[in-house]
């Protein structure tokens, strides 16, 4: 009788052990991935000096100069209504004009936009309706023009801020 009891106990314990072993065959882990709103914009560098050196006799508008040596790249996942605005750190004096033209394959370029008087409080749109995703190495074009009546301009540095915003 005693041996039977012991045997039965062993069988039960063994069954429990087997169940326990099988219960650990799988393990689970909760993994969450959250993607927040991302805005990224960068430029390839600074353009070369824009120096007006010539003009035509009898014409107040001097010959403009251009630079297309730089580019910009963006990445955004916010929406399809994102835009790029541009402004200068300080407005140009009257008679000098700086135009900016940003190419875009994900949005609508506004073409050449006069940013001479665009400051932080009055930034102007240069690209609109940018779709979600990335747009790399899009050309930045600057055109600087001056009127003879504005006189000469000593070498001046201006900071152009391109803002990717909604």
């Amino acid at each position: 009788m005693k041996q039977i009891l012991i045997t039965l106990t062993l069988v039960v314990l063994s069954s429990i052990l087997i169940e326990t072993a099988f219960a650990q065959v799988t393990a689970t882990q909760s993994v969450s991935l959250t993607v927040n709103t991302v805005y990224k914009i960068a430029t390839s560098g600074n353009p070369g000096a824009l120096t007006v050196t010539t003009g035509s006799a009898g014409t107040d508008a001097l010959t403009s100069v251009s630079d297309n040596s730089t580019s910009y790249s963006i990445t955004q996942n916010f929406g399809n209504t994102v835009k790029i605005t541009a402004n200068l750190d300080a407005a140009l004096s009257a008679g000098y004009t700086l135009q900016l033209n940003l190419a875009s394959s994900k949005g609508t370029s506004a073409g050449s936009v006069d940013i001479s008087n665009a400051t932080s409080g009055s930034a102007v749109n240069v690209v609109t309706a940018i779709a979600k995703g990335a747009d790399a190495s899009q050309a930045i074009g600057y055109t600087f023009s001056a009127l003879a009546s504005a006189g000469t301009l000593a070498s001046t540095s201006k900071t152009v801020t391109l803002t990717l915003t909604n």
Partner: protein, 192 residues
């Protein structure tokens, strides 16, 4: 002297011959010493046998059964990853985030097992990749993209315990927008 005579006959011989010579006495002495030594020997040997010879005896048969044991667990039940834009390069559509903070631990006493991984998320917004890094046992499979189908994560698991680092990589495209995926990853030890 009769060598076949019983030992207890010696006193009788002693009475009969009255110890007539010294050689005979020496022989008697030696015989007595020999008898004493035998008695002492059997006394001590008999003591041991006295203890072993208890009042009964019994025997039983012990059967040790080792079943298939398989264990797998993770060091932490929760992993959270967020793509915030840090490290994202302007102009690149793909954004990634990685996490190697947790480990997978297992133990098997049978041979040729593998560990698979799968997610319960049927239609994730973003891709979730998993790689078993530096397994102490077995062979790590190339990085897998988690799906609802169990995919091999580790193979050639043998009779021992082991561990590896779980390297999760979340991949999102900027064109996919924002959102959150909540996966429940199931690791399974299966026959290979």
């Amino acid at each position: 002297m009769n060598n076949n005579a019983p030992i207890f006959d010696i006193p009788m011989l002693h009475t009969k011959h009255c110890y007539q010579n010294l050689q005979l006495r020496r022989m008697i002495f030696l015989k007595r010493f020999f008898l004493f030594a035998i008695a002492v020997f059997f006394f001590f040997c008999g003591t041991e046998r006295t203890y072993a010879q208890v009042y009964g005896s019994a025997s039983h048969t012990i059967t040790v059964v080792v079943n298939t044991i398989t264990m797998v667990s993770v060091s932490s039940g929760t992993v959270s990853m967020t793509i915030t834009g840090t490290g994202v390069i302007a102009g690149q559509n793909q954004m990634t985030v990685a996490n190697s903070a947790t480990s997978l631990l297992w133990g098997v006493n049978s041979s040729l097992k593998k560990i698979t991984a799968q997610t319960n998320l049927v239609a994730p917004l973003f891709a979730m990749k998993l790689l078993a890094v530096s397994p102490t046992q077995g062979t790590a499979a190339p990085e897998i993209t988690l799906s609802t189908t169990a995919t091999d994560l580790l193979t050639n698991i043998g009779r021992s315990k082991g561990s590896c680092t779980l390297q999760y990589t979340g991949v999102a495209l900027a064109s996919q927008g924002t959102g959150t995926d909540s996966h429940t990853i199931t690791f399974t030890v299966a026959a290979q």
